[in-house]
């Protein structure tokens, strides 16, 4: 696998959407090629950052109460 092919699969790899065989090829390439490895690490960090920043928000407690009340009326 060359660098271009490897980078084309960047997000699919990080999202765990590839077959084990392709995943293995990429893992091998990332070990052999530090520049690709750095880019993948950067993108992985970005996705983790995105997830962490957006998870905090949950539904307000009043909303849950309102929904439960409504179900009782059904």
């Amino acid at each position: 696998m060359n660098c271009r092919e490897c980078r084309e699969h960047l997000y699919e790899y990080l999202d765990r959407e590839l077959t084990p065989a392709v995943e293995q090829e990429i893992r091998q390439h990332l070990t052999d090629c530090p520049p690709c490895g750095e880019q993948f690490d950067f993108e992985k960090l970005f996705l983790g950052f995105l997830r962490a920043r957006c998870q905090a928000q949950g539904a307000p407690p009043e909303l849950k109460r309102r929904i439960l009340d409504e179900l009782l009326d059904e």
Partner: protein, 208 residues
């Protein structure tokens, strides 16, 4: 000769909701709470990003839950309840809220130049430490500024952790479309956050 008396019409069947016994209704409510209501936070997060407004997000989620409860007998037990609920939510949004809130932008996907922040920062901050200085609100604001097609894809993937297949089913598009939207949406987001970080002086960035 007198005409035969018409057969007595049977009474109409009772409406479905009152057909079930109180015990069956309690069972239904219990299973709904257990399998559907546990996804309330996810529905709310998605609703908030779609409507861009907490009051409308509340209404959208409430309506979604009510619709889901009424259709609960149609839900196939053991399958993905979160995906099922998000599909209902998205349809409700498209039919009733989108007209009032935001307008769907049609995006010329090919016109978006994928910008790699990593390549910009290779020398200055290859470890992406500047991300740590960007607060939640700024990230949410950047997501809200994405075109709707990208916003919903990125929220389902990066906020809710759904698979490409699940996202494709909810958005009713091919998996390939999910992939390309996700790629461009993430690059657009990176670009917005990069511009913000440069503006705040967290990084120097390229001198353009």
């Amino acid at each position: 000769m007198t005409p035969p008396t018409p057969p007595r019409t049977p009474p109409p069947p009772p409406p479905a909701s009152s057909a079930s016994s109180p015990a069956a209704e309690a069972d239904k409510r219990a299973s709904f709470e257990r399998e559907a209501l546990v996804h309330l936070d996810s529905l709310y997060r998605v609703a908030l990003r779609l409507t861009g407004n907490p009051a409308e997000a509340d209404d959208l989620v409430q309506e979604t839950m009510l619709k889901a409860y009424r259709a609960w007998h149609q839900f196939e037990r053991g399958t993905n309840a979160k995906g099922w609920l998000l599909t209902i939510l998205r349809h409700a949004f498209i039919n009733e809220y989108r007209r009032r809130t935001r307008h769907p932008e049609t995006v010329d996907i090919d016109a978006i130049e994928p910008f790699s922040v990593f390549e910009e920062l290779q020398d200055e901050d290859p470890q992406g430490t500047f991300f740590d200085r960007i607060v939640d609100d700024e990230v949410l604001r950047a997501i809200d500024l994405l075109p709707e097609q990208f916003r919903e894809t990125v929220v389902l993937s990066d906020v809710e952790g759904m698979s490409y297949e699940e996202i494709a089913r909810i958005l009713e598009v091919p998996v390939g479309t999910v992939k390309s939207r996700l790629f461009r949406a993430r690059r657009l987001l990176q670009q917005k956050l990069y511009d913000y970080a440069v503006g705040m002086g967290y990084i120097k960035g390229s001198a353009t």
